[in-house]
């Protein structure tokens, strides 16, 4: 998955190169940020990091109890 995400990242930069050169700094930062997060996810996945870290835990913690309560009261 690391190799595939690396190839995908490089291909994206090549495709968007002409628009990146004329883009605002804010857009370039956002673009690199999104690619960086994706690549980080791919590396983390290959290193089995996400078997210990559950990224949806905050959403689960916030919404699972009220959903279970909803099922309970019905």
């Amino acid at each position: 998955m690391i190799w595939l995400s690396l190839v995908a990242s490089l291909s994206m930069v090549v495709i968007d190169w002409s628009s990146l050169r004329t883009a605002k700094r804010r857009e370039v930062v956002l673009y690199i940020g999104l690619i960086g997060i994706s690549f980080g996810m791919a590396v983390g996945y290959e290193m089995h990091l996400f078997s210990k870290v559950h990224l949806l835990a905050p959403i689960d913690a916030l919404f699972r109890p009220p959903t279970k309560w909803l099922y309970h009261i019905l």
């Binding site: 628009s19 994706s38 078997s51």
Partner: protein, 369 residues
Amino acid sequence: MTKAQISRNQFIIALIWCILGTGIVTVPAAVAQFTVRDAWISSLLFLIGVCAVVIVTWMFARSFANRSFTSAVVRACGPWVGRILGVWFLICLYVTNCTVVREAEIFVGTTILPKTPEYMVGAFAMLAVVYAVYMGVEVVMRDAEFITPLVMLIAPILFFLSMQHMDVHELLPVLADGWTPVLRGGIVSNFDYALELVIGLQFIVFLRNTRYAARDVAVAGGLATVILTLVTVLTIGVVGPSTHYLSYPVLEAVRNIRVGRFLERLDTLYVIAVISTIFVKVAVFHYAWCIGMKDLFRLSSHRVTTLAGGMLVWCGATVLFSSSSDVQYFISYTVPVYFFVTFLAIPLLSIVAMAIKSKRKRLTTVQDE
């Protein structure tokens, strides 16, 4: 450059595929966790969620003509609170898209490509999606239009051929266990799937006439309800109590089709139809996410985040959900309230905020005069 516009038909079709893309695969299975015989009533309750979304769309179209939801929420709630609510909405769209892509990966892996790594399936799916999204809203909507006749050709054939194995007694007695399991099943269909119609708010800005937006959502929701209920009835009638234990009961119903001794394994047609509609769903949600990013971060074009966002969805799908049971548990036990807050409460909040803002502005104008 002229503004991209979509027709009412394209809007309705895109919304229908947004619901049925995954709904036709997972709704019967998700509802069957609570009730099997009365699952069709739970599917019928889908209409309640549709009514809620129609009301929200009607109020939204009156308050914010020619604005996407993310742009409207910033206007109504101000740059700080509005942006926070907008980012919350975009995170929900992202998680939804990851869920759909993961469901698609698992579905394709289970049915037709068992030896292919699931992330490869996701990569190729996202490649097609980002290409369509990169080309713009008209391409996404035309894709939805293009697959419609193909699916409409395949679906009735499979439906009527499956009916030969249907046993109506599997649906009887009606409400033998009371309303409790039916209502619990209805939570999944209403909150998880019907509320997804709110995605239409992101596309209102592209409609030629926003006056009919609520009516279009009602038409899409009504058609989706009818189709989902028919599919649920057929699935329960063919598969029976085993529906409770199967991940893809509709697929099993289609697999039962045999015409004579030579025509069978028509489930391939079903898989093709499902993959096509899931493609439309992911493309619509990804486009909505991209224009949301454009509105919130004041980007020059939705294309800035299309490719990078597509890669983020691809990685997120694999990272957020390790297995199909993870997806199923998330859909059943987290998504209902999560969607209720994001897709109903936040739009209503922005409509109320805009109404208060307009009233205050009017009062100030009157006082000045």
